[in-house]
Symmetry: C2
Subunit: 328 residues, 2 copies
């Protein structure tokens, strides 16, 4: 392909169009992704996640403003709204977020409406992030709503995962249940001016303590200390808990410092490369699974599949049994 199709920071309209093609899964989008691949791998990918209402959008907004004001790095934001097709949430979101950052050529903001297909969101997001990475943005922030699978998917995509909590988002047991401490590299307790902030912070720290005592993840490099062996080691990342009031910038410089520190830590320990390899391996597996399925579809006999599926629907044969029969 010609280099004209490669995205750059400066041609924002072309960049927007290219991202739309990637989102739509068009042939042009696929071609562009292929062309972007050799140029990607330089940006710091940061996931920002947490329950709805915790103030993620405000925090992302402030982080972006401060980075642009204090340093000379460029920032792209990908905001993922699991929005309904009939509310037009993503479009509204774009406008709300754009207001404070409009006109800055070093900032690019994109809202994506998530749709149903299993794994589809993570795949499309990875593609969009790859385009922004190849375009030359220094930081790419991916903001996701929701708990559970989507957080885990984003954590796999990001180098650094920031989990945002806020007081009054449900009781403390609920906070513990969310199971997000495992994926958090940095914990932010936002809305620090609200009552209940101490409880939220205490609950988080208590659970981190539990984690440090009982759990060591080689993959993430989170620390695992027994009580008698408690010391700060340079090759272990101690997840910081940072209180912020995103609406007035309080604590936001500390979050940016933690993000940069985490990047340094990942580089120094070789985890940056490891996480990159894991992500590429995941992508390879996904493409391979898809290709194998397409090959099979081309070669199978439709009438055999149909007959077996009728037996499955009648519960005379299980799905596994039908697959075994077809692959014989």
């Amino acid at each position: 392909m010609s280099t004209a199709q490669l995205p750059t920071l400066n041609d924002r309209l072309a960049l927007s169009r290219l991202i739309s093609e990637v989102e739509n899964g068009s042939q042009e989008g696929q071609t562009a992704l292929e062309a972007c691949f050799p140029r990607s791998g330089k940006a710091h990918l940061i996931g920002v996640t947490g329950a709805s209402g915790a103030g993620k959008s405000s925090l992302v907004n402030r982080i972006t403003q401060l980075i642009r004001r204090e340093k000379q790095r460029t920032v792209a934001v990908v905001a993922i709204d699991p929005s309904s097709p009939f509310t037009g949430g993503a479009i509204l979101g774009d406008r709300v977020r754009m207001r404070d950052l409009a006109g800055d050529p070093g900032v690019f903001i994109r809202s994506m409406a998530s749709r149903g297909e299993l794994g589809g969101l993570a795949h499309t997001t990875a593609g969009v992030v790859q385009v922004l990475d190849a375009a030359g943005f220094d930081l790419v922030l991916v903001e996701t709503v929701g708990a559970g699978q989507s957080e885990i998917d984003i954590a796999r995509l990001a180098h650094t995962t920031v989990v945002v909590e806020s007081p009054g988002m449900g009781d403390d047991i609920q906070a513990i249940k969310a199971g997000i401490l495992e994926i958090a590299d940095i914990l932010v307790v936002n809305k620090a001016d609200l009552p209940g902030i101490e409880n939220t912070e205490r609950a988080l720290r208590a659970n981190l303590e539990l984690g440090y005592n009982g759990y060591l993840s080689e993959k993430t490099g989170h620390g695992g200390f027994s009580g008698s062996d408690r010391k700060k080691e340079t090759d272990v990342w101690m997840q910081p808990v940072i209180k912020t009031i995103a609406t007035e910038e309080s604590g936001v410089p500390e979050v940016i410092k933690a993000i940069d520190d985490h990047r340094d830590y990942l580089k120094k320990t070789g985890l940056l490369e490891l996480r990159d390899r894991e992500r590429l391996k995941d992508e390879f597996d996904r493409v391979l699974r898809h290709a194998l399925m397409e090959n099979w579809k081309k070669n199978c006999r439709a009438e055999d599949v149909e007959r077996l599926m009728e037996e499955v629907f009648a519960r005379k044969r299980s799905p596994s049994n039908a697959v075994n029969e077809l692959l014989k």
Copy 2:
């Protein structure tokens, strides 16, 4: 296999063990699932979902109590906590939930700790539900935490999806963003004694109206009326919005009635069979994808894969390009 391995309502210890085998993906679990399959398909599968802190557990608890008190049906509950391995959330959850229902032989409660793998949770849950279905429970309630993909997965699994909201779970825009109205068959506004209940209810109803005016899903059978054509038709399900105070049973009988009405509606319109077929087709696809991948792994040359992956890691070759090369 011997019929002794088939689960029954009465041997709870055997049932628990079988579910553990299914959760662990052991060979025994697989064999049991195969044996269960012809006996499954009778239970009413109900998903209960919504943001954390909305009071889903309390509601599920009350629904179960009332069904057991007023009718002679049996109930199984599967509670999915995306809990951390170090908090032991699932075990705690079991104890909290068990208290009110302990000793009732017509109730079975199981907490599952969700783990990372993409799509893994939905798969394991489907297996556990199949065992409980085959064991003869009349209703199987699956409670999930979180927004986004996990809700959509559960909606695919369930015949009837109950979405629980509550006042003060973030502002109204957040509630709209959640995009859950599309998957909801029944909407519950819990904690109806809290301030803000009217706002939450109004926001939900306004969005439902939007949906009825602009959106028709053939799959779910949700209504699609233009302004001039607004009437209640018997073959269209109008999603009810029900206010509850789960801690004191208020509104819970109405939720149970709506669940039963929805079952009748699905039966009458043929959607029950359609949803069942879709679920079995999904399961078939999943097993097929897995089997194709395993076959490929057996037949590929490891050194080729390794060499190509190194080129991918060096960004000399994209994952897609590597797959194409391998499948040549």
